[in-house]
């Protein structure tokens, strides 16, 4: 039986089973035969079987009426009567397919400091929201980016729905290779208190426990030969030292507080990747506080948003901040900056100082003690 296009018939009359049997003798297959009221049954069958069964019912004096179409036929008839709905659905699907042919978003991930440069580069090549998808070739774009950014380890360019995703992994630069064959000393890269000095080549010039200054020779680039004479060599070694690193930040003790004058204004803006439009202009030449509310009109498929800006006119008043609050904020900022500066070092100790040398400004200094290798090779000028 055709499973898609079916109709439901209601057959009624005395001994309606005989009618079903006669239909059965003619090879009519029925589904969902149900007993109804008043000696009637409802059956489901194909439209052709329904026509045969109706003709047979009329011939034998039974009553047959098409009760209701079911399955796909029901939807076909429903959409046939509402052709506007069908047309609308077709237009929607066509628009969606058309919209899917464009790049709606360019996402740059994990680019770190390169993000702005990568975005500018893509814009230079015309890879911006709104470009046709067929004009973007991810593999070619990946090669271009890898060529343009040699310090990036690898680039991944792929489609994520209607977005183009560019993912970068920054390479770790290889350590500076010392120039082989040149004689020279190992010096201190920064001030510190020496904890351990290991000389692989050359003669140690300081001892553990010494305070050394930046540039001071730690391992001299010479060794005593078998005959007692000094032979110039390329000094090599490791110098672990306690080093103190400080960072400072300045915070104003004065701030401006805004107070509403009572005047308000509103504005609605429609924003798309290509343009934005507003029936009214934003207020200018005055000081306003703005509250912005964004509604995604097109859902996840169409990046169209309706933005509502509520402006409230304010006047600014100069006022002094709480000293405790500034101290806390400064401590947090200095601590964060210090951690960023020492991201690869192990911090042994740390403290924070506050000073108010300048009027209306507080300087917060965070200092940390770390342990690191301060040995750096320096070639002697008169070396071979």
């Amino acid at each position: 039986m055709n499973g898609g296009f079916r109709v439901r018939l209601r057959l009624s009359g005395l001994g309606v089973e005989k009618l079903l049997n006669q239909g059965w003798n003619k090879g009519i297959r029925l589904k969902r035969v149900k007993r109804g009221r008043n000696r009637s049954v409802t059956v489901e069958c194909t439209p052709e079987a329904a026509a045969s069964l109706t003709a047979l019912a009329r011939e034998k004096g039974y009553r047959a009426e098409e009760y209701r179409p079911v399955g796909l036929l029901k939807w076909a008839r429903l959409l046939g009567r509402r052709w506007g709905l069908l047309l609308g659905a077709a237009v929607c699907v066509a628009l969606m397919v058309y919209a899917l042919g464009f790049v709606w978003q360019v996402r740059i991930e994990n680019a770190g400091a390169y993000e702005g440069e990568v975005r500018a580069c893509l814009e230079e090549w015309g890879i911006v929201p709104g470009i046709r998808r067929s004009q973007v070739h991810p593999s070619a774009l990946r090669d271009q980016l890898e060529w343009r950014f040699p310090r990036v380890q690898w680039v991944q360019v792929e489609w994520a729905g209607v977005a183009l995703r560019v993912r970068l992994e920054e390479g770790v630069p290889p350590p500076q290779v010392e120039t082989a064959g040149k004689n020279g000393d190992v010096v201190a890269a920064e001030d510190g208190c020496l904890l351990r000095l290991t000389a692989f080549a050359g003669t140690p010039a300081v001892r553990a426990g010494d305070f050394v200054r930046a540039g001071q020779v730690l391992i001299r680039g010479e060794e005593r030969g078998a005959d007692g004479t000094a032979v110039p060599v390329k000094a090599r070694g490791e110098a672990m030292a306690r080093v103190w690193v400080s960072v400072s930040c300045r915070l104003p003790l004065i701030e401006y507080a805004s107070h509403s004058t009572g005047r308000t204004a509103g504005r609605r803006v429609i924003v798309t990747p290509f343009f934005s439009w507003s029936p009214t202009e934003a207020p200018d030449n005055l000081t306003w506080d703005r509250k912005r509310t964004e509604f995604p009109v097109g859902g996840v498929w169409l990046p169209v948003s309706a933005i509502r800006d509520e402006f409230s006119e304010v006047y600014l008043e100069k006022q002094r901040r709480s000293l405790e609050e500034v101290k806390q904020e400064g401590a947090r900022a200095a601590d964060f900056t210090l951690r960023q500066a020492l991201i690869t070092d192990e911090i042994v100790d740390k403290w924070i100082n506050f000073s108010m040398i300048e009027e209306d400004t507080m300087t917060v200094t965070a200092t940390a003690e770390v342990r690191r290798d301060i040995a750096r090779y320096r070639q002697t000028e008169d070396g071979p």
């Binding site: 059965w24 297959r29 029925l30 589904k31 969902r32």
Partner: protein, 84 residues
């Protein structure tokens, strides 16, 4: 042994084949037509006589040339001699 003895009786002798699944479904293969239909009682002609399916809310889910599938709450199945 005759070769026909190897074949099942529903093929060689026109006997019906009845499959009852739980108390919800009765599949009848090789029927010879519907005799009467009520929601509590369905009688079907078969080569073995009148088959009566008793129960509640019985519906004929499929009424084909060879097969008939009855669904509903099945209380009993019984053969009778009349009307065959």
């Amino acid at each position: 042994m005759h070769k026909r003895d190897w074949l099942p009786p529903e093929i060689t002798q026109g006997q019906p084949r009845l499959v009852i699944t739980g108390r919800d479904e009765v599949l009848l293969e090789g029927h010879e037509g519907l005799f009467s239909y009520e929601t509590g009682n369905i009688r079907v002609r078969t080569g073995a006589g009148m088959l009566q399916v008793m129960g509640e809310n019985l519906t004929i889910d499929y009424f084909g040339v060879q097969d008939m599938l009855i669904r509903g709450r099945v209380d009993g199945v019984q053969y009778g001699g009349d009307g065959a």
